[in-house]
Structure formats: C-alpha cells, structure tokens
Amino acid sequence: MEYWLEILPPIAQGFKTSLTVYLLTMALALPLGLVLGLLADMVKPARPIIGVFTWIIRGTPLLLQLYVTMYAIPLLIPMRMDRFFAGTLTFVINYAAYFAEIFRSGLAIIPLGQWQAGQVLGLKKHEIIFNIILPQMFRNTLLPLINEAITLVKDTSLLAAIAIGEMLRNAKEIVGKDLRVDALVIAGIFYLLFSFMVVSVGKRLEKTYLKQM
C-alpha cells in the first residue's frame, strides 16, 4: 500500500497528460471532422480532396503519423517541434479523418425527402441543415462516435512513442526501475475507469437521443 502511494503521483501525472490530449483531440477533431464530413457530403468539388485525405490518414498507422509529425517534419522544415504539440496535432488530424467519414456516412443515409420536406415548407438552406439534417446526422453517428471515443482512450498510450510522459510510459519506467508490476496494474485501473466514464457518458447520450428511432 505504501509502495502504491509512492508510485501514484507519477502515474497520475501521466494520466493528466493523457487526459489533456484526449480532451483536446475530442474538442478539436469533432468540429473539424464535422466540417469535413459536411463538405464531402454537400460540396462536390471538395469530395475527392477529402477522400484522399481520409484515405491517407486512415490507411497508415497512427504511430507512423506520430513519427512523421515529430521527426520527419522538422527535417523538412527546420524548426523545433514541441512533443506535446506534435502529439496533439497528429491525434486531432487522425481522429478528424475518422470522424469525417462517420459524419459523411451519417449524412448520406438521410433520405432526400427530408430536404424536400423542408424545402416545400419554405425553409432556407441553413434552417434545413440545422433543424432537420444535423439532428438526424447526430443520431445516425452517435454510436460509431462513442466507439471512437473509447478507442481514443487507449490510443493515447501511443504518445509514449514520441517520448511524451503519458501514463503508460511513466508506469513502464517505474516497472523497469523497481522491478515490480504494480505500476502497470494501477495504469490498467486508470484506463478502465477512464473508459468506464466515456462509456457512461455515451450511454447517457444514447438514452437521451436514440429513444426516438
């Protein structure tokens, strides 16, 4: 017990880093993905460009993308890359690509008749988008979005690859130093609690928004 109290602070510190990247990624990638998804659905010329973007991002490992941002970009453009910035930026771009695809498919399955119903009622384009299309898209995409939100919890451990002191990296260091696995157990508990919280929020959202199907 005493040992646990001793190793808790560095793990908690790592958790704070993981949580910060998590929250920043969700807060930035969701709106970015939404804009990309809307553009792909509604603006024809944007479609192929966004298609190539999502193909590249979804078709290569996140780990590779982290290396590219952290180590390859500073070789091309002489600059000092901040680890935390590189990690967050990569996560935002990566998740935005997944979110864009989710939003795009959530829009594609809304029948044309919904637009037409809005049009014959004399609603303007933005009124149709905000009052008819987006609420339905949100319902269509809630479940896959919750899945991504859970995956992101675990993906934050990849930040270790560019030497960011996130939770798992800190825990591993303690294990290597003390030759005891307790730190990994604690980190595991943190991950479980964290994803449990994400799942609970997801369930709440499901309950509120998916009952009317």
């Binding site: 008749g113 049009q119 009052n131």
Partner: protein
C-alpha cells in the same frame, strides 16, 4: 390559381414530361391520374417547386412560379405538399413536426405556434398523438400528421401524392372524409392517385397523364362513365 403550359422535364436524356399543360381553379378538387411511372410525382415536384421545368411556363396567381430558376415565395405560400412517403421529421415529436416550420416561417412566439399546431392536430383527430414520435404512429395517423404539417402554414392549395397507397379500406374512407371536410373549409385540392375508385369518389375534375402528356382533362363524371 395555377396555370401550367407546355411543361417539359427530363431527369436524364429521355423526357418524362413532354409538354404538359392544365389549369387549377380555386376551390376545385382535381385528380391527377396515370399509370405508375407516368410522371405524376415528377409533376408534383415541379408544381411544388422542387424541380425546375426544362421548358414551359408555370404561373401562380398569374405570376411566374420560377424567377431565374428559383422558385418564388408564392409557390411556398400557396401550396401545402403531402409526399407519397410523408417525409415526416423522425427526430421530432408530432407536435414539433408542425411547430418547427411554423416558428421558423412566422417568427411567432413558441407558445402561439404550439397553440396553432395543437388546434390543427385536434381538428385532424390527432390530439392523443402530439407527444409521440412519427414511428410510434400508425400509417393512417402518419398520413394525417403529414396533412397537418402541410396545412400548418395556411396554404390555399393542398397537393397530395397517392394518399391511399398505403391505407386499408377503412383508412381510405377516413382520408376521403377528411379531405372533403378540408375542401368544405375552402381548400383547393390536387390529388395524385392511381386509385380509381378513390378518385371517382373524391374528384370533380380529373387529368390523365400518359407517356408524358395530358391525355384527358375534364369532368370526373364523364371520365369515369366513358
């Protein structure tokens, strides 16, 4: 009220409507008949301003319905449209299916919009359904919700596509009575249907579409006795 002349429309190469023309007079019940695929729904989309005709003239109260390829406000204010598949808003309650467009269009306070919507839903026998979502309502009820939504902005003409296609005999009778009572309150009706007995019971005048052209335009009585 409406005047269409020589309307032509093609989705792709092959024209679906090839010079359609007719008038709609105030207070009448006009049936638009024709086999499946004859272009009735396409015509509904033109009348309601969803599709712009390739050629021809479409006047509403003697004003052009399309100005520079865009539908004029008259099209919306004059016409209420009920789609073949209803196209109710699945994420909104029955009440909000009416209140949402009413609020956006009239900018009246919410309480007034709700009062207007409730009153209309009550007239259509839907008072017990207002808090439900569309999927919780029967086909006949959904039909009436769609009619209510089409009427909530007070159009002069109700344009309704295949009102009986998904209904049994009993509900067909109910729709017939409902439409007749709406007509009694001064509404002009354009009913698109291939249900001939229903058309015979409802319509004063009918138009028959065939191969993209109007092949009959006249009294329903003579059409059905011929």
């Amino acid at each position: 009220m409406l005047k269409l002349q020589n309307i032509t429309y093609a989705y792709d190469q092959e024209p679906i409507l090839k010079g359609v023309g007719f008038e709609v007079n105030e207070g009448e019940i006009l049936g638009i008949l024709g086999l499946s695929g004859s272009g009735k729904t396409t015509l509904l989309k033109i009348i309601s301003g969803l599709l712009v005709p390739d050629e021809g003239e479409y006047l509403i109260e003697n004003q052009p319905a399309f100005i520079k390829q865009k539908k004029s406000d008259k099209v919306v204010s004059e016409l209420g449209v009920v789609f073949q598949q209803f196209n109710l808003f699945p994420h909104l309650t029955v009440l909000d299916n009416l209140v949402m467009p009413l609020r956006l269009r009239t900018k009246q306070p919410k309480s007034e919009c709700i009062a207007t919507a409730v009153e209309l839903l009550d007239v259509l026998g839907l008072k017990d359904q207002i808090a439900k979502f569309p999927y919780q309502c029967s086909g006949g009820q959904q039909q009436r919700i769609a009619i209510a939504r089409a009427l909530v902005l007070n159009p002069k003409i109700l344009l309704i596509d295949e009102p009986t296609s998904s209904l049994d005999k009993e509900n067909t009778k109910k729709v017939e009575e409902l439409l007749k009572s709406l007509h009694g309150r001064g509404l002009t009706l354009i009913i698109i249907t291939h249900d001939l007995p229903f058309a015979q019971a409802m319509c004063q005048r009918v138009i028959e579409l065939s191969e993209g052209k109007v092949v009959y335009d006249g009294l329903a009585a003579s059409y059905f006795n011929a």
